[in-house]
Symmetry: C2
Subunit: 200 residues, 2 copies
């Protein structure tokens, strides 16, 4: 007879579904959960349920929010002339941590990737196009990831924006700050050379 | 104004409490959860609650179980003369995977570790001693982890067992010193079982 505890196997299976969590880590996490003090596992479960119930997508920028509009879109102090187009909500959080950008965002929720069956219609592109009719919008910053799919998505969307006569820009490529030239790949170094700027 | 989504931060905090999960991984997992198809996050939450509600400790060996006795203790085919003493339920699962051991177990739920404030009274040692009055029991295999605390716990318990005149053995050092039983491969664990030696 195989030795299993069904409720335990089930919890392990659930953890193992998470990205980057293998079977052994999942088992470890499951054991951790059942050994938590009373009420703590319940807090975990209710955090999951609450996040699912409360979080929806901002009707303007499609970022996650607990209201119909996110805190960024409803902030009057943000510069409404610039929209930074990103793949995921995590990318918004990354830009916000820089404290350098005070424009708006648009979250695509993915990239065009035919191999994974993701076409333009699965992304929030039409919601972005709808925002361009606002004469306040002066610049769209394409900030998709520097991958093949990210590049393809950026160029696809910029072609759609062209007819509106709005400026479309792309994040600069180059060597990451604090990085080591020795370990930079050839493509990144070539781009860094191409985009070199004068020291004044 | 800082950009936060409370339900999201809460879920991220919960993930970040898990062992081996840092802030960035926690955020990634939280985003994964809120993007799951309908019903999937609910399954996750209910797996947590179910595991907490259904799982208790076997009245004999203290291993996790959904009944008052675990499947191993209630299995008539298991050899009742041998008890393998382990730190955690994960270790029982590791031994079961070898298919080499058909005796019983005893789960201590930790090791003696004065620095962490864990003394013998916090472990399930008295439950083990209570099992020794059964004349069927012929051998106790000390299978705590090969760490300083594991060794100390093994020798502490073997001294308690001495007066009962029962043979006490220790896993052979086929297991790598400083390692963790949970991650030992099946072959190494089998070798360690075969080469066990008596504590004298």
């Amino acid at each position: 007879m195989a030795y299993t505890v069904p409720a335990m196997s089930n919890l392990t299976d659930q953890f193992a579904r998470l990205p980057g969590i293998g079977r052994k880590t999942a088992a470890r996490l499951a054991y951790y959960i059942i050994n938590l003090p009373d009420g703590e596992a319940e807090k975990f479960a209710s955090a999951i349920l609450e996040a699912r119930q409360k979080i929806s997508y901002c009707e303007i920028c499609q970022n996650i929010t607990e209201n119909s509009r996110c805190t960024i879109c409803s902030d009057d102090k943000r510069d409404k002339s610039t929209i930074c187009v990103v793949e995921d909500s995590q990318d918004v959080a990354a830009f916000e941590r820089t404290h350098e950008y005070d424009g708006l965002y648009h979250v695509l929720h993915g990239v065009i990737s035919p191999l994974d069956g993701v076409g333009p219609e699965q992304l929030r592109i039409k919601e972005l196009i709808a925002r361009l009719n606002n004469p306040e919008v002066k610049e769209i910053i394409m900030a998709t990831n520097p991958t093949v799919e990210g590049e393809a998505t950026a160029s696809y969307i910029s072609r759609l924006i062209k007819p509106f006569g709005i400026k479309v820009t792309r994040l600069a490529y180059g060597i990451p700050v604090g990085g080591d030239l020795e370990y930079a790949d050839e493509v990144t170094l070539s781009r860094a050379l191409e985009g070199r700027s004068e020291i004044i």
